[in-house]
Amino acid sequence: MAYTGRELIASRCAKFFQDGDFVNLGIGVPLMCVNYLPEGVDLWLEAEIGIVGSGPTPRWQDWDIDLADAGGQPTSIIPGGAVVPHDKSFGFIRGGHIDGTVLGTLQVDQEGDIANWTIPGKLVPGMGGAMDLCAGVKKVIVATDHCEKSGASKILKKCTLPLTGVKCVTDIVTERCYFQVTPEGLVLKELAPGYTVEDIRACTEADFTVDPNVGVME
């Protein structure tokens, strides 16, 4: 079965991880990655509050006020998982102990800058742990719709919203393609089924080059 849309994004992002990786996944599409992990790949999921080995939402009978996730929702801990204090949890993040993170975004640009925490005057939830993730995690994967609802590209030459992190994004995965972020700029590595290089040029503001061996995203 060929995935499309957000399923395709989650499925592609899941392929970045290896068995045993310690990862932090944002709420929404990023967290969907766990449903598409290849056979034999198990991850240690971190929750910022201080959980190593965050599990699925338990059945409601087991909901526990002392086990809430970053969004204040009930969560669980897998066998072998651990709890640590909050400052240590961010030591994992800033200290380079987390192998990868998948983040949603408002904007991302060709230099690897990301803007996902505020639209001044409109959307002001706060940055939570996003800036720490951008500053400390080796692999920062952006999982996003390619365009806004208006049709405007979310992949820009230069972000216009307040930044969350500077030159930190390593990979951009959308429902249409996968770009790698390199010191020379974006490289189109894979196309979603049904999309051509011309289609991507037409809906992307950022400059990019095309890998001669551009593949099919799955």
Binding site: I49, W63, D66, G72, I77, P85, H86, V124, G129, L163
Partner: protein, 242 residues
């Protein structure tokens, strides 16, 4: 040994208008709810609050926001409390957004006797505005200053009469470092135990750090109202499916 167990009234005598207060809760999960109820009844106002998140309108420190008791909030997230957003937009409450890891380290610095913290978090963003940037070993770091409070209001699972604290599962969160960074440390506990019941390696915050213990009178671990609403829906759905 000095008994640190106090009544709610005695605890509230330490809490005044205009103080800077650290709260243990994020979205209200691990909150000294009965002390907060007491603060609302006492009428404490013009507070500067410090918490990872600003609670929810019906939970935790969020109740003080909803009742207009906070004039300034240092936090990383207000997304689950629309009252915080409204008061920030109207100018009633000043909000200083701090990246969550930096929040932890600034308070840790305040409690551990450090003059500040160097962190790469926030370099090149609005968080860096007005802050000194140091270039060390090929990387830029922001100089972030320590945070302390007049009072820390925490919630522990167990305490003994001497003031030793123990936290269950993820409820330790920011509480161990907050206990170090306030002049007066007040803890609402679910269960009071005898001295010696908590073994030396079962104590998360040792007695000398804690000033006052208040034993929660109501339900020990009530679920948030938002969870209760979700459970009611799930139950209704399950019954409907039978």
């Amino acid at each position: 040994m000095k008994n640190k167990v106090f009544s709610l009234d005695a605890v509230l005598e330490q809490i005044h208008d205009g103080q800077t207060i650290m709260f243990s809760d994020l979205h209200g999960e691990i909150s000294p709810e009965e002390i907060i109820t007491g603060m609302l009844e006492k009428g404490v106002k013009d507070l500067t609050a410090i918490a990872v998140a600003s609670g929810q309108p019906d939970m935790g420190v969020g109740r003080l926001v909803a009742d207009h008791r906070i004039k300034k909030f240092l936090t990383s997230h207000i997304g689950l409390n629309p009252m915080s957003r409204d008061q920030m937009f109207s100018g009633e409450m000043e909000v200083e957004f701090i990246p969550q890891g930096t929040f932890a380290e600034r308070i840790r610095a305040g409690g551990y006797g450090l003059g500040g913290v160097l962190t790469p978090t926030g370099v090149g963003t609005d968080v860096a505005k007005g802050k000194q940037v140091l270039h060390l070993n090929g990387r830029d770091y922001l100089l972030e200053m320590p945070i302390r409070a007049d009072v820390a209001l925490l919630k522990a699972t167990k305490a003994d009469k001497a003031g030793n604290l123990q936290f269950r599962l993820a409820s330790i969160c920011c509480q161990d470092y907050m206990a170090m960074a306030a002049d007066t440390v007040i803890v609402e506990v679910e269960e009071l135990v005898e001295i010696g019941e908590l073994g030396p390696d079962e104590i998360d915050v040792p007695a000398p750090i804690v000033d006052m213990i208040y034993v929660r009178q109501g339900e020990k671990r009530p679920l948030p109202n938002s969870w209760k609403r979700q459970i009611a829906k799930l139950q209704a759905k399950a019954e409907g499916g039978q």
